[in-house]
């Protein structure tokens, strides 16, 4: 499928449409695939909280697009039970924040079943989590990737472009492990009355048809020689904008999209660091114990000789996420903060 990805015709899509396309392809090509979540299976409904599944409930049988009561724990539990007997469920939390209602199922069950069975069962399921600040406050906007990265047995991926979103979702559905799949709400793309969205600078030309993007490798979004800048999801685009702005001052930033956190592609990071000697991590999640902390720790343990300067992080502060626009802007790293941190590494 991947062999001729470059030959597939492309079409500009937002991430929501790209994800929908992936699920449609998966549903059509594999009878074991089904979707399960809240407000996703209503005929004529609105396709989940962010229109990602819009129309699929009209195209497919209710047993393929399973609408559920408000029962996050049961959504994940049912997905696990179905996956263990051979299905490939794609479960959706309406907001990523709601996954905490299902944490036992995610952490104690999905992640551990293969290990606890000593390899006798597999849990091929995807758990889709819409994350990211979008002026909805502390319980509808946090980023949760670090928590899952801390849990052995889960793959954790977080695409930043529609092209990756489609290919990685198809790869996640075909993966034999539980995959936590984070989607940033501001990258879904405008739909109807939804005006909220962030500009996506690249990766909007989405191949038509079936292709996968492997889970694991990071993606270099902008090669550079002065500073290695790691980011994920929305922060990739802000990092990219900051890099373009800094380029006008002669600063050459390499932007790497950490679109997979488990597995974590340290090789790409280290190769870049060998070139630049300077590392900046940008994440929207809270600073403490974030994925950036893990990357910095691994560099400090094994690759500190590559560093010309102490490593830096730009992240959300260790507070809950505020709601008001002015407060949220203060919380979420923006282009100015990122650019300033890069300059700091070069002083």
């Amino acid at each position: 499928m991947n062999a001729n990805i470059e030959q597939l015709t492309t079409r500009p899509m937002g991430m929501a449409e790209a994800l929908r396309d992936a699920m449609r392809i998966a549903l059509k090509s594999d009878p074991r695939v089904f979707l399960i979540g809240e407000d996703i299976g209503v005929k004529g409904g609105f396709g989940g909280g962010f229109t990602v599944t819009l129309g699929l409930s009209d195209e497919f049988d209710p047993e393929r697009v399973v609408d559920t009561p408000i029962s996050e724990g049961a959504i994940v539990g049912v997905a696990i039970g179905a996956a263990m007997v051979g299905m490939r469920p794609v479960a959706e939390m309406q907001y990523g924040d709601f996954v905490f209602c299902a944490m036992d199922q995610v952490v104690n069950q999905a992640a551990k079943m293969r290990y606890m069975s000593n390899g006798q069962v597999r849990v091929p399921m995807v758990l889709r989590l819409p994350v990211g600040a979008s002026q909805r406050g502390a319980q509808h906007g946090q980023s949760t990737e670090a928590l899952f990265m801390h849990t052995p047995g889960l793959k954790v991926v977080c695409p930043s472009t529609p092209r990756d979103a489609k290919g990685m979702l198809l790869a996640a559905i075909r993966d034999d492990n539980p995959v936590v799949f984070l989607e940033h709400k501001l990258l879904y793309g405008g739909k109807g009355s939804r005006k909220e969205s962030a500009p996506i600078s690249f990766g909007v030309d989405v191949p038509e048809g079936d292709y996968t993007v492997p889970l694991g490798p990071a993606a270099i979004r902008r090669p550079g020689s002065d500073v290695t800048l790691l980011a994920n999801m929305l922060m990739v685009h802000r990092a990219h904008s900051a890099a373009e702005r800094l380029a006008t001052s002669g600063i050459d930033v390499e932007v790497i999209d950490m679109r997979s956190l488990t597995p974590l592609d340290m090789e790409t990071v280290v190769v870049s660091l060998a070139k630049t000697g300077r590392l900046l991590v940008v994440e929207e999640d809270n600073l403490t114990c974030g994925w950036g902390a893990e990357v910095l720790a691994r560099v400090a343990e094994s690759h500190h000789h590559l560093l010309k300067r102490p490593m830096r992080r730009v992240a959300g502060p260790d507070t809950p996420l505020p709601c008001a626009a002015v407060l949220e802007r203060a919380y979420v790293p923006d282009v100015e903060k990122i650019a300033a941190a890069v300059r700091g590494l070069l002083e």
Binding site: E63, P69, G77, K155
Partner: protein
């Protein structure tokens, strides 16, 4: 709502009642007082009228069969329920095999009935001997890790699992030995697992609370109270999606009925008509907390009404009663009528886990339950009612003890896992 139609005790003798004929077919609407079926006792032939209007559903005892008084032989459903409750339009490729409970009471099959009861006695005895043997070893400090035992609850495990096929799944709990043995799991492999050996059913990664035998449909038992409820519902739903007529059983205790997973799992299973059976082993204590301190209703089965599924209370010390209830629930599930909650009133003779002497329980209470012991009751019935030879039953007990000791010997003689096995099977590579 579906309303069960039971066989009335016409003779007030508790004797069997024979169904002569059905006056109404499945799917037909009846008025109140319209004749449903005709029964015959040793005293008389009687027409049984509908106690309410409704649609006749799920006849489980055909004409000519005998039933014990109290047996549910069909349901009367509200019109809307009957329409919604019809099985999927594309029935499973495989015809389900269902033994009707009435069969057990017919005189023609007295032989098989007795043999089934002997089999139940044998399996319950094996569980009891196993648990008691491990308890003695534990007291000598010879059992590694933790221990949650099920002495007293054997009839639940055996009664339910006897109603299942090998390709039906069970999801057990932190107290799994009875369920695993009843489902036919390898005694050697589960024992080696308790001893943390490489030959253990999950290679030493699980321990006493995480036993499995996938070859007989015993999934990894779950040590998070209530967590297996939505998982079992998921497997059940998947069976239907796959066009299979398998069912999935979740075992859990009275304590689990108070955790959110119970509510979410039963509700979702009910609205999706998952072919699942939820078996609550109400042994009166959630660890040390008595049910009266944790639950403001007498019967946990009452909670089924909140989800629109049948809730059945059954004597969990009576293996035949458990079996009958389980068979009915399995039949409902296989036919596409959705899940059932079965509450088995039972008692665990030992503490919650190792080292719990059960000081929170009264000796009189304990004694009262011992007098209802499921194995002794079965023994008495086999001998007094069916004329089984006590020597035969003693032989069964002797062989059970030998099997238990052989399993422990196997475990003790087995090698430890390699230390680096700790790092394997996190992911499917």
């Amino acid at each position: 709502m579906r309303h069960p139609i039971v066989v009335p005790d016409l003779g007030a003798t508790g004797g069997d009642v024979r169904i002569v004929s059905w006056a109404v077919k499945e799917g037909q609407t009846v008025k109140e007082d319209e004749t449903l079926f005709t029964v015959e006792t040793d005293k008389a032939v009687t027409e049984i009228p509908a106690f309410r209007a409704g649609v006749l559903m799920l006849i489980s005892a055909a004409a000519g069969q005998s039933c014990a008084p109290g047996a549910v032989v069909a349901y009367l459903a509200d019109e809307a329920e009957a329409v919604a409750g019809r099985p999927p339009a594309t029935p499973s490729a495989r015809k389900p095999h269902i033994r009707l409970r009435a069969e057990a009471s017919s005189s023609e099959s007295l032989g098989p009935t007795v043999e089934r009861l002997v089999q139940a006695f044998s399996t319950m005895t094996l569980i009891r001997r196993y648990e008691e043997h491990l308890y003695r070893l534990f007291l000598q400090g010879l059992v590694p890790g933790t221990l949650h035992q099920c002495q007293g609850q054997e009839a639940v495990a055996v009664g339910v699992c006897a109603a299942l096929r090998v390709d039906d799944l069970i999801y057990s709990t932190h107290r799994p030995v009875g369920h695993l043995i009843a489902k036919g799991a390898s005694l050697d492999a589960i024992t080696a697992e308790i001893w943390g050996k490489a030959t253990g059913c999950v290679g030493g990664k699980g321990g006493q609370m995480h036993l499995a035998d996938f070859s007989v449909g015993a999934m990894v038992s779950n040590a998070i109270v209530g967590a297996n409820i939505p998982i079992a519902a998921g497997s059940a739903l998947a069976f239907r999606m796959l066009g299979l007529d398998h069912v999935a059983v979740s075992f859990f205790g009275d304590g689990a009925s108070n955790i959110g997973a119970f509510h979410e799992g039963l509700n979702l299973a009910a609205v999706k008509r998952a072919p699942a059976i939820f078996v609550c082993e109400n042994n009166l204590y959630a660890a040390s907390t008595h049910i009266s301190q944790a639950t403001n209703i007498r019967d946990i089965a009452d909670r089924a009404a909140a989800y629109g599924m049948p809730g059945v209370v059954v004597d969990g010390m009576d293996v035949e009663a458990v079996h009958a209830a389980a068979e009915e629930a399995v039949a409902r599930a296989r036919h596409g009528y959705g899940p059932t909650l079965i509450e088995c009133k039972t008692y665990r003779y030992r503490g919650h886990s190792r080292g719990d002497p059960g000081g929170y329980r009264h000796a009189e209470e304990h004694q009262a339950w011992l007098e209802r012991d499921p194995i002794e009751r079965t023994r008495t019935k086999l001998i007094e009612r069916f004329g089984a030879e006590s020597a035969r039953l003693a032989g069964i007990e002797r062989r059970a003890q030998q099997r238990v000791e052989a399993a422990v010997a196997f475990a003790l003689a087995s090698p430890d896992p390699e230390p680096l096995d700790a790092l394997t099977n996190v992911f499917v590579e």
